[in-house]
Symmetry: C2
Subunit: 341 residues, 2 copies
Amino acid sequence: MQKQPTIRDVAQAAGVSVAVVSRVLNPGSGPVAALTRSKVSDAMETLGYHPRTAARELKHGPPTTLGLLLADVSNPFFAHLADLVVQEAHSRGIQVLLMTTQEDDRLESERLATLIERRVSGIIATPTGNNLEIWKKLQDLGTGVVFVDRSIPEMPEVDVVSINNVESARSATALMAAHGHRRIAIISGPATSTTGRDRVAGYQEALREAGLAEDRTLIRSAAFRGTSGGDAVTALLNLQDRPTALVVANTAQVTAVLRRLAHAGISIPDELSVVVFEDSPWTELMTPPLTIIRQPIDMLARHSVQLALSNANGTTTGKPTTVRVDAELVERSSVVAPKTA
Amino acid sequence: MQKQPTIRDVAQAAGVSVAVVSRVLNPGSGPVAALTRSKVSDAMETLGYHPRTAARELKHGPPTTLGLLLADVSNPFFAHLADLVVQEAHSRGIQVLLMTTQEDDRLESERLATLIERRVSGIIATPTGNNLEIWKKLQDLGTGVVFVDRSIPEMPEVDVVSINNVESARSATALMAAHGHRRIAIISGPATSTTGRDRVAGYQEALREAGLAEDRTLIRSAAFRGTSGGDAVTALLNLQDRPTALVVANTAQVTAVLRRLAHAGISIPDELSVVVFEDSPWTELMTPPLTIIRQPIDMLARHSVQLALSNANGTTTGKPTTVRVDAELVERSSVVAPKTA
DNA sequence: TTGTAAGCGTTATCAT
DNA sequence: ATGATAACGCTTACAA
């Protein structure tokens, strides 16, 4: 186990001062003679020198790391988002500290404390909805905060990047209505989440447009974690006047819902038409291939990183930005006209 | 945008010296009077003080971050691994820097350079197979290096955590043989990867045990990225003597394979029995439910973190550790006896 | 063009 | 029990 050479070792080996080494390390920070430069480079090479990030950051170096705080990474949607955020960040020379909250605001506050201590330049997060004060503080500190996928209504000053939740749920529901369904159910995220609320709003809008009456028993919100989606299905199936169509607007609960449906022996789309908010490749491999709402995750990733970085150092342009990208309804074969009973 | 208070500000506000503040920050580092402690705590509270990690690390503080270098995080297997690694690390107060290589050794070397500069205490990685010198250097530097899922044969000195690839492929193949299949194909990872080679070895072993002759045309290695799995399927289907069973041992190519199979109108398991190395929930939702090899990802995550951390600071116990956990063959409905032609 | 030296925010060693 | 003060490795005026 060898000891790490410092800038001083390099300077000595090259027969110059540390200032010169620093200059070749940071091109543009000052003049260096070509010959000197190569001598220094050689020294760095032979010594196997690597500048220490911690020291650089301490000396008000531009913070080069970004926090990515997600609910969890097992969820394919978040996994894909993480993948793209990392790629996008790397292409800008930024590193990503990955953290998860498990939808637990207690854990969230701990993670945020760590992020504060690290003085990350920005944070891209799916907030639990609490810890308002900490988020505020982060912004005051000049951290670029961006909420992705969801937001916190009480915090309109934070930038948000998400799909148009209202519109996507509306289009999914409208598709059902267009096929002649009159009893359309929705399983959404918890009512405390903006995605949950917005998607239900879109659903209601579609109902209104189709001249359909709203039935509260057909609106089920399921927690993101656990198997709440399955229970929602069971509840729906136990209704005396069962729905003929179902919009699964809670991405984290899609497999739980489908599993319960399969278990109950419900045949899709004969007994139940289905649209899910989930665009993993496997949705196309199902029998029948599922009609889905596809989220442009690459757009979400790109905008999140860009905003987080541009908001860093309090370079906030004043009014908060809200990026709302359109999701795409991909029609496959899980929606058909209801059986006339 | 407020300025961040330093330890000096706290000291001043509390009317003590910085040394005292540092002591209350690091309990056990020295005596502090109870009254003093509370005064300091109050000052920290009202000022909203957070110690700066960069400064602490500079002052030979225990490195508290770990690098997780994966091929990509879109792959559900890696995503799940990342999720659990993060959880495990957090439970030990360690942070995780997430990076991806896209299976590109050029990118890998860049990421590794960054990790060296950050002086991370450990790295958990799915190596591309190259950059041998850098990996060696990392170890010399006292970084705890752990290869997960795959390994590099030329680097027996590095700890490895993976499933028993030989045995899992053997059991999957043996299942086919037990059902009476005689033409069993396998689509594995590239021959340059240890997982690819090991799984093929297990496949061959099972063939031998079943007294079946090996047919080279039934062994297809597909790259991890892209849609190479689909091409392998097509090649297999074009054989004049088609296989009646297929082991998909390349996790990253499972959906590509299934998609091509569906596209070709091959019915599972009637025309082709299938076992896949992939345990995402959706495999159970397919028609028919897929027989799979389930990897105990939680074990992989736990051991990886533990090893990476214990190997840090050159605390290497001498001989490298190899943790090989057993994968589980979960029989569902995608394997049946071959149709007697 | 290059060198000197003063920080950056902590921790740790001595004194007091 | 508390306080000065010297590092830690790097950047950056300011000199030379």
